[in-house]
């Protein structure tokens, strides 16, 4: 009797052990990745900020996408042709792509999806680019038409788009999530944030969104490029970047962006230092000299003197722990119009003093006290000290709150001198050389103005030949550098800590790519 009981017990224990073993093997791999806030929307056409963009890359797919080198590559498109005049694009769609609801992706989805985005009441940010170059786009957005006439569905697999003029950036637009669409049957009117679950065609499917806590996605086994390796991704909402770092160190997160203030400790840490990964970013960090707010900045010699007086190498290596690379121009590397021949301003205190003296302020005498507005006082302290030591001028640092800072930049009437960054939403020189330099633009925070630059930028923007446009962009940038329109300091980088168990994490100029290539062991 006793023996029998023992046998039963042994059997049960064995079965239990086996079953837990089986469970252990089945345990899904979960990648935990922090996001600073909930996404504003899970609809790709409504992407306005980084978090929404990041989610879109995992949930959705479009005709094209950017690869790791920020090249435009076909995604849902298997083949395409462009007419000789550059006006008609014919796209052949893949025949193996399915929406998450199981229905095949067809050409009509794009026509209907785009027409929806052009309804002004939806508030899609893309009203304007790229639709202004698509025939009928402007009319539809203005409510003067019912249909996007320039987009024609030839058959389920073929889509034809006619442009009003040739555009060098049209395919780039198709590679950004704002032009990616969702199947119309999944759209819930009046609820673009889609808490109930969005439908896409991307590598991961929606599982659950707990606002303020996390968003969970799972691998899409039917993804047209093959099922992702990771079974689940948990995007955990962690607004405080220092908290996120501590969670990473305790093993609660797999990947984390390193906050600038922690970079020194992290890079000197024997363990963490080995887990850092750097990725080039399309962002310039600069000091802006607001000419309308501070009269001395209207003198080009003063602006050049400031440029010569700042030791960028020391600033970046000693103060910023190499979070940036030294900027020699306005357009960052990896952007097609980047000019590797620009040398930028060397550190030359003697030259700086000479120029300032020529401008009427020998040894900084008579130079009014200057206010430097910044969100990061460490950089500002270093810059103020360099200007004081080399030019003898007094710089007072003010540190407004972020919302206040941005307001003042756009209104041009608050900050005389400021530290800020300017980030690309497309890999084009236009982001910097047009938006930051052209006379009268709101985004020209320095209120710099030069007719020659404007003429070159205008020619570049309307050009249909890439090489010609590139030459114009580079010429405009060179003039602005000669003019010392601003003080380019550095090109920033994405700096992530990646757990050793995770491989295949990628980022391009715009940030982390979709996680379909990530493997967690």
């Amino acid at each position: 009797m006793l023996q029998k009981t023992t046998k039963v017990v042994v059997f049960v224990v064995l079965m239990l052990a086996l079953s837990t073993q089986a469970f252990a093997q089945d345990e899904p791999t979960v990648l935990r990745f922090p996001i600073t806030s909930d996404p504003a929307s899970l609809e790709p056409g409504l992407v306005k900020e980084l978090v929404s963009g990041q989610l879109a890359l995992n949930l959705h797919a479009g005709l094209f996408t950017y690869d790791i080198d920020t090249n435009v590559v076909p995604y849902l498109v298997s083949d395409y042709t462009v007419s000789d005049d550059g006006l008609v694009y014919t796209f052949t769609l893949r025949d193996d792509a399915l929406w998450h609801n199981g229905r095949p992706v067809v050409a009509e989805d794009f026509k209907l999806g785009w027409e929806r985005y052009l309804d002004p009441s939806l508030g899609a940010q893309t009203a304007g680019e790229p639709w202004e170059v698509v025939v009928g786009g402007t009319e539809l957005f203005a409510g003067e038409a019912e249909e996007l006439t320039g987009v024609e569905v030839i058959n389920d697999q073929t889509l034809q788009v006619t442009l009003t003029r040739p555009s060098l950036s049209f395919l780039q637009s198709l590679a950004t999530p704002v032009t990616w669409v969702v199947p119309m049957e999944s759209v819930v009117e009046g609820q673009p944030e889609w808490v109930d679950g969005p439908v896409g065609a991307g590598p991961f499917k929606f599982v659950e969104w707990t606002p303020n806590v996390s968003i969970v996605l799972e691998a899409n086994p039917d993804f047209f490029l093959g099922a992702p390796e990771v079974d689940r991704i948990e995007f955990v909402v962690v607004p405080d970047t220092t908290t996120a770092l501590a969670q990473y160190e305790a093993g609660e997160l797999d990947i984390v962006a390193v906050p600038p203030a922690e970079l020194e400790r992290v890079s000197n840490d024997p363990v963490l230092g080995e887990e850092i990964q750097y990725f080039t970013r399309a962002q310039i960090q600069y000091a802006g000299m607001n000419q309308s707010m501070f009269e001395p900045f209207q003198d080009v010699r003063v602006r050049q003197a400031f440029n010569y007086a700042i030791d960028r190498e020391t600033l970046i290596s000693a103060v910023l722990n190499s979070a940036w690379t030294v900027a020699t121009g306005l357009v960052p590397p990896n952007i097609p119009e980047y000019n590797p021949d620009l040398e930028g301003y060397a550190y030359d205190p003697a030259m700086a003093q000479q120029l300032l003296a020529d401008a009427g302020y020998p040894g900084g005498e008579g130079f009014p006290t200057l206010e430097l507005a910044t969100l990061n006082s460490t950089n500002a302290e270093a810059i103020a000290a360099m200007l004081n030591a080399n030019l003898g001028i007094t710089v007072e640092i003010i540190q407004p709150e972020r919302g206040d800072m941005i307001d003042g930049l756009w209104s041009h009437d608050r900050w005389q001198f400021f530290l800020f960054g300017w980030t690309a939403d497309s890999p084009s020189a236009s982001v910097w050389t047009y938006e930051m330099l052209v006379c009268g633009l709101d985004s020209n925070f320095s209120t710099y103005c030069n007719e020659d630059v404007d003429a070159l930028v205008d020619s570049a923007r309307t050009s249909t030949d890439f090489e010609e446009a590139k030459a114009d962009w580079q010429a405009a940038e060179a003039i602005a550098m000669e003019d010392a329109a601003m003080i380019p300091l550095g090109y920033s980088r994405y700096i992530y800590l990646v757990d050793p168990s995770v491989t295949g994490f990628r980022a391009n100029l715009f940030g982390p790519l979709g996680f379909e290539t990530v493997v967690k062991s």
């Binding site: 606002p211 806590v213 962690v238 206040d404 941005i406």
Partner: protein, 309 residues
Amino acid sequence: MQRYLLQRIFFIVFSLFGATLLAFTASRLAPGDPLRLMAGEQNLPQEVLDEWRTRYGLDQPILVQYGYYVANALQGDLGKSYHYVGTDVTELLGPAIVVTLTWESVAIVFAIVVAVFLGVVSALAYNTWIDTSAMTVALLGISLPDFALATFMILLFALKLDWLPVAGYETPAHFVLPAITLATRPCALLSRLVRASMLEVLHQDYMTTARAKGLSSRTVIIRHGLRNALFPVLTVIGILIGRILSGSFIVETIFNIPGIGRLGVTAVLQRDYPVILGATLALAVAFLLSTFVIDLLYGVIDPRIRTTS
């Protein structure tokens, strides 16, 4: 009693109006454009900005906006978040309130129980080493700011010793560090107050009478001593609950707890006006209700108040 209740309810409603009006004007007058903040460092076409401003009524004068807000709020509609496009503020507030109430009531109960215990023990052991060390610890607790204590505890208990998780809100273990952080200061303050109050009561004539009646010393201390000593302490507890509620802003951000405090901080940084107001309203209601309950409790503790009112 009825009249008193009516007065109090009127006062609560009046305070809520005051709090929302203040938060409403302050958030809108503060520099920082919610739409620009959403766009970050990227360029947003002017026509899109204008269209959004009109849609959210931001082109109206502030008092008109406030009028609409109150009218809608009275019907239970607190508006829609700017950041979480299309989401009702009430939908965001609901879960956040539950989270905050859950973990903060743990902190409040913890603070009160420990404080009363420490205070009574110190008073009874007046001027001994027990008293001195308890009060030194309390002084330390009062002087330590929340953020310093939080960082220190994360370093020690989560990163070095690996006993508790760093941050998040998943298991009861996640409550421990934030609850201790939030409870420490009120607990330290309160324990000193309980001690002082208890010392005073211990020398009252009725205590001598109670002892002379032959009651056990436990009964004397708890029924006659503590009950009278807690009376002044109760008022302070009401104020401390307010402090604890507002302390949630820092502590929830550091420990990444998805409560009303963290929601409020994120909303302020994004200038998400409707959410800022919703969070203010929720905290104001919680504070006013807790002081109201405390006032009612006076009657329970002190029968004289019951009879006179």
